[in-house]
Symmetry: C2
Subunit: 344 residues, 2 copies
Amino acid sequence: MSDPSLAHRPTLEAVAARAGVSRATASRVVNGSDGVRAPLAERVRRAVDELGYVPNQAARTLVTRRNDAVAVVVAEPETRFFSDPFLTQQVRGISKELTARDNQLVLLLTEGAADYERVGRYLAGGHVDGALLFSLHDDDTLPALARRAGVPTVIGGRPSWSDADTLYVDCDNRGGARDAVTYLLDGGRRRIGHIAGPLDQTASVDRLEGFRDALPGTDPRMIAEGDFTPEGGARAMAALLEHCPDLDAVFAASDVMASGALRVLRTRGIKVPEDIAVVGFDDIVSVAEWTDPPLTTIRQDIEEMGRMMARLLLRRVSPSAGDADGPALSSIITPTRLVVRASA
Amino acid sequence: MSDPSLAHRPTLEAVAARAGVSRATASRVVNGSDGVRAPLAERVRRAVDELGYVPNQAARTLVTRRNDAVAVVVAEPETRFFSDPFLTQQVRGISKELTARDNQLVLLLTEGAADYERVGRYLAGGHVDGALLFSLHDDDTLPALARRAGVPTVIGGRPSWSDADTLYVDCDNRGGARDAVTYLLDGGRRRIGHIAGPLDQTASVDRLEGFRDALPGTDPRMIAEGDFTPEGGARAMAALLEHCPDLDAVFAASDVMASGALRVLRTRGIKVPEDIAVVGFDDIVSVAEWTDPPLTTIRQDIEEMGRMMARLLLRRVSPSAGDADGPALSSIITPTRLVVRASA
DNA sequence: ATGAAAGCGCTAACAA
DNA sequence: TTGTTAGCGCTTTCAT
């Protein structure tokens, strides 16, 4: 009942036999280590082709203790993995980078604390060489788990604690927010409100900081907390409107919240950007380009952040490989950029 | 330079020694095979706990030829994996099912034909016990690749060819479309147009069929082809309006296209649903609940479809396991359901 | 530069 | 019921 084609799979032994060399030599050629004379190497390569040989990863892992696989762990998909293209895009970047370096991506989605034990076991099981952690809460135990398992780790988004050897990749949330508000100020806006994300996430806090950098001493009632959903954005917009009827601009901490805000403004017949200008954050294209009017926003290169995370992790996994292995590894803050559309 | 914690990892040998039994007995306990007397088993379990033993998967795979891992292969992410939460949701269902059966999910994203070779090698490499294939085009070579690699496969969405042992999971596209149109007819609509998806995808074709089932002999100009993007939906809507100014309803083959259509209608001051009723397809909640007005649509249980794919594949991988292994495996068509919101 | 041989940690016959 | 033993396919010293 076992699969015939698997049974057929040629081993290194077979390749060696066909090429008339020892298994050791065949192995050397397959792994590209030098010190095999050209003609021999050529014969081995031909044998590989003819037989359609593919190395058995399990056997290889058993001896090298290398998996060439990396886990992507997403804490609580319900939060964002669902509707937000954010993670999807990031995963795509990760996938590209991993692929380029012949690593595989093992996806671990968790539904809550109960799953953490399973993830911990998995990481401790040495199935992967490293882990990329996403969507952590404030006091998430996942990083500790990974550390205990002895698995090198890189975190997506600045964690709430800071710690010498915690590596993360995040965009310049604070600088981006500052740019957004500065742009509004340059456009002559004076009564600028802020729709913040949930303030137990660092991204929200950092964006709020940026807002304050540009607008120190803002009346707290000009700031409303949302939750990164359209509904939350709508509620926050309504609150803002109530507290400050003479508002002339809003900076929302995410495009998705901005879309909820725009909706409220439309419903009330408030013209955007004439009466109130709106700036978002993220540049989730499928959202920002399709709001009415299209959204001016702060762009972060999400896919690139994914790539960087993967690259960082891979260097952490095997410090020697790839790059000119000099500089110590450190966290990365990627730049943001204002994208002007119609809403501001 | 190798990770200390990995070096420390106890082997089965160590467990056996500590429990004072042979490696074979320890293995039996760990793998839950019966025939080990209770007290011995207990001692082994204690040793496992004390040592924090976790089986080495590579060693296990090497002998069992089982990976307990499944690949999810997505052809051309640019198409949908990007903005469409569809795949994300499906992956989530897959993940849940796989997790429940102690299997891992290896994600393989491809960017085009060049990547197929890599995927083929990977599948042929016996790294995974099976593969789930998504977003195939009409003449996609991926299934052939997987077959050649001898890897059991289940496809997401009805493939364009049909073939005794090609297993797939899809929703009842045709029936759902029929229901949508019937609902419009029951509501008294008489001039009903259709915004189709790209007709080189079976989902689009099937939905068009369903439309025709309910409305045989429809003037071809009442049907406009979109491409599953908002832009495409908008263009198709404009075309429809031009050809049939007296339109009183539209059935769009996806929520995303419907959102584009709604936008055009709003721009032209056409009231929805008063002047023109709109029904979508998919029930992507983050889209359908947030259009203006919220979208009446045909719901498919995307996550459940993911679960079913995983379940089907796992049964195909090891026919004996799990269920009361009687019935032959067959493709699955899941039901759809009308969800009434405000647009129709 | 090449080959022989010793395992990596585990499971599964086979013996006892 | 338990233990002994032979590999699974590969990499990697160590000889040659």
